[in-house]
């Protein structure tokens, strides 16, 4: 890890106003605002795999989309390879769009069923006006070969492929512009276990060959544990613990990370530990608790947790943690 990070996320927030146009005239904003991403900061280094985990609705996808400027942040800044892209207009953003791509969860929904594989994978090249037709076709063929699909696939349609093959098509489309940063949003979650491992192996191979940097969003802790170098744990729009994957998963410090890990079913009897069960559900997104947002479910909550939000502190082992038990 030398030089500057490829991606610097600083205090980024993204809110959703749930009121419709009319309601905006008479309803106060405070109770209808979802702080989907709330003051999040982290760095991602070149050729690194950075994981984001947390329960459904904690803001993982919103964070991924905001980082790529597919959605605009309400606060904070996003610096990509030294350039602040937070407020770049469409035009100025275009060259950066080429360098950042996304792969979504659903290999069934994210591919247009009426287009051939050649059209689908070649589309980003056309949109960005890269090369001529012949060159584009060569690039598409080469990309398909790279993701392990036969050249005969070019003229076929998505429904003629299995789930794992469709996800390979989606990966080929994301990589055809030779991006540097790829956001994988639950990219293997819909696949069968045997196929998940195939796609993970492919992603790792591509990373080695092309020097890719991944932002890997997943709710599957074991997958993240195997695949990511560093990981951020999110709760209600905030990162509560960030650090090296092996460290965080072996010695979690934040009570939420601990609870999350202890809930994962273990294959071997010898690995099973007594559970720290979380009580209750995620609080309503529009009315998060005051103080530390986790205090309503935290088995170790103290008085200060109910009133004062903890700051993100760095511990001696390099991890960052937002918890009054670990003031740094």
């Amino acid at each position: 890890m030398t030089g500057a990070p490829l991606l610097q996320v600083r205090g980024v927030s993204r809110h959703f106003d749930l009121r419709n146009g009319l309601e905006r005239l008479y309803k106060p904003a405070a109770r209808s605002l979802v702080r989907a991403v709330d003051n999040v900061s982290f760095d991602v280094w070149r050729a690194e795999t950075f994981g984001i985990i947390g329960e459904s609705g904690c803001g993982k996808s919103t964070l991924g989309r905001t980082v790529l400027r597919l959605q605009d942040p309400d606060a904070g800044s996003i610096v990509f390879d030294g350039t602040d892209i937070t407020r770049l207009g469409r035009r100025a953003l275009l060259p950066f769009r080429r360098r950042m791509q996304i792969v979504f969860q659903d290999p069934y929904a994210s591919l247009n069923p009426r287009r051939t594989v050649e059209d689908i994978v070649g589309q980003p090249l056309r949109v960005h006006g890269v090369g001529r037709a012949a060159g584009r076709q060569a690039a598409v063929t080469a990309m398909l070969e790279r993701v392990g699909l036969p050249a005969e696939s070019l003229q076929r349609y998505p429904h003629q492929f299995s789930g794992g093959q469709r996800q390979r098509i989606a990966i080929a489309r994301a990589l055809v512009l030779q991006p540097e940063l790829v956001v994988c949003d639950e990219a293997i979650s819909a696949l069968d276990v045997s196929v998940q491992a195939q796609v993970l192996q492919l992603l790792r191979q591509l990373q080695r060959d092309l020097g890719l940097t991944y932002l890997f969003i997943s709710h599957n802790l074991a997958v993240v544990g195997h695949f990511c170098d560093r990981v951020a744990v999110m709760y209600l729009g905030q990162t509560v613990e960030v650090g090296a994957t092996r460290l965080l998963l072996a010695e979690p410090r934040h009570p939420y990370t601990r609870a999350l890990l202890s809930a994962v079913p273990q294959m071997r009897r010898a690995d099973r530990r007594p559970r720290t069960l979380l009580t209750g559900d995620l609080p309503s997104a529009t009315r998060p608790p005051a103080g530390c947002k986790f205090h309503t479910r935290c088995p170790a909550a103290m008085d200060v947790c109910r009133t004062t939000p903890p700051a993100l502190a760095t511990l001696g082992d390099g991890r960052q943690i937002a918890c009054h038990l670990h003031p740094g």
């Binding site: 329960e55 276990v193 045997s194 074991a222 999350l260 273990q266 069960l277 979380l278």
Partner: protein
């Protein structure tokens, strides 16, 4: 007639389910034999499309035409496949409950959650109070207790909520509450937690385990997550392309799998407890079930396949009682 104390509560022999389709015949369930013992938890695992759901829907008369079900299914000695729809409905809900993969399928969108629980209690519950109108306060209390036990906060206030006012995870838990409210003897839970976060998954599975301990309920737990069945089940049946390929004690199947498919599945699954373990992907993917060849269904993906695998492969029982559908001598050694 009861099958007696020590007999299985559910006994299945030669269950077969076919669907004629325009592209050919789909044999979704291809000769299933299994027993579930009283108070036992049997896990059923296998990848998408292996026939887990159809197997159990077939037993309960829930496969629609043109699907065809044959074989023998006995619940506590009673023949389920020969039973009339009315009798089967009576049995379901009282002695035998099923929760579906998709909670939308089980919940009535136009009835409040509370009414749905009370309806089940009124139809099948104890005390013989079959009053549909005018709620029995004891039963309202029971409904609240059940919702609380599946982890719905402030259950009393949420009885009047409709399914759409619940989150996906809460709907799943409400369905489980409805299934458990009459203390069934057998619960068939089809992927009860696949759509839930691990934290909620742990709550729901712990509840099912508790009911099993307290009431001696038997459970069939269908899942695609090996960890889930490893933790919660006594025995595991591994399904592939409509057949059970391996059946044995949970710990033995997970820690020393004998069928090449089970071995491949475990080698490709990431373990949180061992992050340095190299994942070994299995080549290929699950076949589509149209006009499957006669021989071993797994042969095209199997590293050990030989010409002998082209002939039908029967389930074999090893000396220790483990069952494996594989011709290799070491599979049953």
């Amino acid at each position: 007639m009861s099958a007696g104390r020590d007999g299985p509560i559910l006994s299945v022999r030669g269950l077969r389910t076919e669907f004629p389709t325009t592209r050919g015949r789909v044999v979704a369930v291809d000769g299933i034999d299994l027993d579930v013992m009283p108070a036992e938890c049997l896990g059923v695992v296998g990848e998408s499309g292996s026939g887990k759901s159809v197997t159990f829907l077939s037993m309960l008369g829930m496969v629609r035409l043109p699907g065809r079900v044959s074989g023998e299914v006995r619940f506590d000695g009673r023949d389920l496949l020969g039973m009339g729809a009315r009798e089967l409905r009576e049995l379901r809900g009282r002695e035998l409950a099923i929760t579906f993969q998709d909670a939308q399928m089980a919940l009535n969108p136009s009835l409040s959650i509370g009414s749905q629980i009370l309806e089940t209690l009124a139809a099948h519950g104890p005390a013989g109070s079959r009053r549909l109108f005018g709620r029995d306060p004891g039963q309202v209390g029971r409904a609240i207790e059940m919702l609380t036990r599946v982890g719905i906060p402030a259950a009393a206030e949420r009885l009047r909520d409709y399914p759409h006012q619940f989150s996906g995870g809460m709907r799943q838990r409400a369905m489980i509450a409805i299934a458990l409210v009459c203390n069934p003897r057998l619960l068939i839970a089809d992927e009860p937690t696949s759509a839930l976060d691990v934290t909620v998954q742990a709550q729901v599975l712990d509840l099912i385990a508790k009911m099993r301990r307290e009431l001696g309920m038997s459970v069939v737990l269908i899942a695609h997550d090996l960890g889930v069945v490893a933790e919660h089940c006594d025995r595991i049946a591994v399904m592939y392309a409509g057949q059970i390929v391996e059946l044995g004690p949970a710990e033995a199947v997970i820690e020393a799998p004998r069928h090449p498919y089970t071995q491949g599945l475990i080698a490709s699954a990431p373990w949180l407890s061992d992050l340095t373990r190299e994942l070994r992907p299995m080549p290929g993917s699950v076949p589509n079930l149209i006009d499957m060849p006669e021989g071993c269904h797994f042969a095209p993906r199997c590293p050990f396949r030989s010409d002998a695998c082209l002939r039908p492969v029967a389930m074999r029982t090893a000396a220790d009682g483990r069952q494996v559908r594989c011709i290799r001598p070491e599979a049953v050694a």
